[in-house]
C-alpha cells in the first residue's frame, strides 16, 4: 500500500503532536536509545521503514545489526528472536500484517510462551511482537484480521492493544521493558489518521502497561473496547449523548492479563455492558469478558452482556468490510437492546 505523507512533529521540547504511527516510531527510538540490547527485526523494516513506516529512519540511525531487514519468514522472525532473547537481546519483531502471523504461530505458542515455565523461570524471553491489526483499510485477504484471542488464550504470553498516540508512545516502551513476551497489537487503520493524533508529553508518567482505562465517564451503560474499536465506542458515546444517554467507555489496553476491576466497578453502577471488538465473537476475548462480568457482577446486571463484533466468518472482501466491522450504529443498537431488556 502507498505510504501516507507524514509531517514532522511539532510542539514544545517535551510535548509533540504525533499520529499513532509517529508515536510508535518515537517510542521505538527512545527504547533503542535507552538500551543497546533492543533490536528491531522484520520484513522491510530497514531501508523502507516498514510498509507502514513505523520503523522509519531507525536503521539509518542504529545500523543494520540493530534494525534487521529479515528474510520473508515469520517463523524465522519469531524463532530467531527467541534465540536472540536467550542470548540477552530484547528483540522487537514486526509482523507485517495480522494475517501473516500464523507461520510464526508454532514458535509463539511452543517456544515464546512456554520457555519460562519450562525452565521454572531460569530462561526469560523478553521479546515484543508488533502486529498491525484490524480492518477498514480496503485491503485484500489476510490484511485486516484480528487474531488477538489466539494469543490471549495462550498461557505465558501477554497481549496488549493501543488505541491512541499517547498510549502507543508509552506502551511500546513498556512492552519492550517487560521481562515477559508481549504481543503488541496496533490499530493499523489509525496509524496516520488525524483522529488518533495527540499531544504526547514525553516527560509524563505513563499508566501501567497491563491496566485498562476509563476513557469516558457515564451512567447509562458501559461500553468496553480495545484497539480500533475504542474510537467506535467513543463515537457512539458522543452520539448517544445527543439522545440523553450517558455511556461509560473503558479502553481495555491490556488483553492478557485482563484488567477487569474497572469494568466490574462500572457495570455495578450502570448495570449494562456492551463489549465491542472487530474479532469474531465465538470463543473470543469478548466471550471471556462476558463470562467474567456475569461471574463478578451477577446481581448488578440489568441486562445480559451484549457483544458487537465481527461476524463468525472469514474476514470478507473489502467491499463488505463496513458491514463486517462494528460501527457506531451497531453499538447504539446494542445499547438500545440492553436498555430495552
Amino acid at each position: 500500500m502507498a505510504a501516507p505523507v507524514i509531517s514532522k512533529p511539532n510542539g514544545s521540547a517535551t510535548t509533540q503532536s504525533l499520529t499513532l504511527g509517529k508515536a510508535l516510531n518515537l517510542g521505538l527510538r527512545t527504547a533503542m536509545e535507552a538500551d543497546p540490547k533492543v533490536i528491531v527485526m522484520g520484513e522491510d523494516v530497514g531501508k523502507l521503514g516498514g510498509v507502514f513506516r513505523i520503523t522509519d529512519g531507525l536503521q539509518k540511525d542504529f545500523g543494520e545489526h540493530r534494525v534487521l531487514d529479515t528474510p520473508l519468514s515469520e517463523s524465522g522472525i519469531i524463532g530467531t528472536a527467541v534465540g536472540l532473547a536467550v542470548r540477552g537481546f530484547r528483540p522487537v519483531c514486526e509482523i507485517q500484517f495480522d494475517g501473516f502471523i500464523f507461520p510464526g504461530f508454532d514458535q509463539i505458542v511452543s517456544q515464546v510462551a512456554k520457555l519460562h515455565a519450562r525452565t521454572l523461570g531460569r530462561v526469560r524471553v523478553p521479546l515484543v511482537i508488533r502486529v498491525p491489526f484490524g480492518g477498514g483499510i480496503g485491503a485484500v485477504e489476510h490484511h485486516s484480521e484480528s487474531p488477538e484471542s489466539y494469543f490471549a488464550h495462550t498461557a505465558g504470553l501477554k497481549v496488549v492493544a493501543c488505541s491512541n498516540a499517547v498510549d502507543a508512545y508509552w506502551m511500546i516502551q513498556q512492552a519492550i521493558q517487560s521481562d515477559d513476551p508481549v504481543l503488541f497489537f496496533e490499530p493499523k487503520r489509525y496509524y496516520h489518521s488525524g483522529f488518533m493524533k495527540a499531544e504526547v508529553d514525553t516527560t509524563a508518567t505513563p499508566d501501567p502497561l497491563f491496566a485498562s482505562r476509563l476513557v469516558r465517564a457515564g451512567s447509562t451503560a458501559t461500553v468496553v473496547a480495545y484497539g480500533p474499536s475504542v474510537k467506535v465506542a467513543l463515537d457512539a458515546a458522543t452520539a448517544a449523548e445527543e439522545e440523553g444517554r450517558s455511556l461509560e467507555v473503558i479502553d481495555l489496553r491490556s488483553l492478557s492479563p485482563l484488567d477487569l476491576q474497572p469494568v466490574f466497578e462500572s457495570v455495578r453502577r450502570t448495570g449494562r455492558l456492551v463489549v465491542v471488538s472487530e474479532a469474531p465473537s465465538e470463543a473470543s476475548l469478548t466471550s471471556e469478558i462476558a463470562a467474567r462480568v456475569q461471574q463478578e457482577c451477577f446481581y448488578s446486571l440489568q441486562a445480559p452482556v451484549l457483544r458487537v463484533t465481527g461476524f463468525d466468518t472469514p474476514y470478507p472482501p473489502a467491499k463488505l468490510e463496513e458491514d463486517f466491522l462494528p460501527d457506531l450504529d451497531r453499538v447504539l443498537d446494542a445499547v438500545d437492546r440492553s436498555l430495552a431488556w
Binding site: S73, G79, T80, G83, L84, V86, H116, G121, P257
Partner: protein
Amino acid sequence: MSSPEQWTHPEPREGPAATAAAPSAEQVIAGLRATSEGGPELVQLLTPEGERVENPEFDRYVADVTAEDLRALYRDMVLVRRADREANALQRQGQLGIWVPLLGQEAAQIGAGRALRDTDMVFPSYREHGVAWCRGISPKEILGIFRGTDHGSWDSNAKRFHPYTIVIGNQVLNAAGYAMGQRFEGKVGDGDSEATMVFFGDGATSQGDVHEGFVWAAVYDAPLVFFCQNNQWAISEPTERQSRLPLYQRARGYGFPGIRVDGNDVLATLAVSRWALDECRHGNGPVLIEAFTYRMDAHTTTDDPTRYRHSDELEAWKLKDPIERVRVNLVRHEHADQDFFDSVQADADALAADLREFCFTMPEPPVRQMFDHVYAEASPFVDAQRDEFLAYQANFAGGEH
C-alpha cells in the same frame, strides 16, 4: 560404487517412472545400500573393525588426541550407553512414563559434544543425552522430563545447553538466532571465538523451521553448526521419505558446506565437528554435518520397530557399533588393558545404580510449580487460580474425598 545422488534418485530406466512415493526396485535397493554404507563421501577415521584410516583433510583435527583421550571418549560412550539402558529399564519397570533411547548414537553425540568448548552454546532436540553428558549435565537432570516431574532441571544458561525441544525443528531457528547474536556481539572472527551447535534428526529436515534456519544462518553468516543425526528412521519413516538427496547435500542449495561423517565413529565425528566449529569461529559458518548413524533401539519406549523395519538391518548395524570399534583399537594398540575396561564398566554400573536410586527417590512436584513460573513478572490472575486451587485441595486435607 554409485554416486550419492543415485542412491535415492537413480537414472531413469524402462518401466514406470519412480517417484518418492513409489520407489523403483532399484531405489529400494539403493536405499538399503545408503542405509548400510553411507557412501564414498563418508568421513571415517576408525573403521568398524577399529582400524585407523588416514584422512588428509581431517587427521589434523584429531592429531592431538592421545591414547588417554581416546580412552576418555570410550569411557564417555560406555557411560552414556549404560545410563541410557538403565533409563530404558526404568521405563519398563514403570518408573518413567517414557524414555527416548540414544542407543547406537553414542559416537555421534560424544564426538560432537567433546568438540565443543564451554563458551559454545548448544541447542538439543530430545535425544541428546550424550551431548548433555559432555556439557556436564547428569542423567539425573534429564530424568524428570520422562518421569513427568519437570521439563528438565539443568541450568541452561550456566551449562550453555538449551532445554530439550520436543516440537520437531523449533530449536533450529532458536539456535540460528542465538548464533546471530554471537555475531552481532562481535564474538566471531578468530580461533578464540564462540560458536553454536544445534542438534536435530533426519525427520526434522522436512520441517519448515529447519529450512528457515538454514536460510537465516546463511544470510546472517551465523556461527552455527547444524548437526543432523541421520539415524535412518523418523519413528517408522525411513530417510527416503524425507529426501531424494543425501541430507548433507542440501547445504549446497543454501550456500554453505555440508559434510557426511560416520556417526558411529567418535574420532571422525570429533574431527569433523572441530573443523565445523573452527569454520564458524572464523566467520565461515554456518556448516551442516550429517552424522550417518543408526537408531539401534525404538524411537521411544512406546514404539515397536518390528512393525516397520527388518531385523537384518539392525544386525548389519550391530557390526558397526560405535563403542566396539574404539575398544578394538585400544586393545590392538595396547592403549588399554583389562583393568581399564573393568574400571570403566564399574564406573558405568555405579552411574546406573546411582541413577536408579535417584529415580526411586525423586519427589513429586509441588502443585504450585505449574503456576509459579508462567510469567517472569507478577501475575495476579494466575496467582489467584493457584490460591483458589490450593484452598480447594486443602478442603480435603483430612482425607475426606
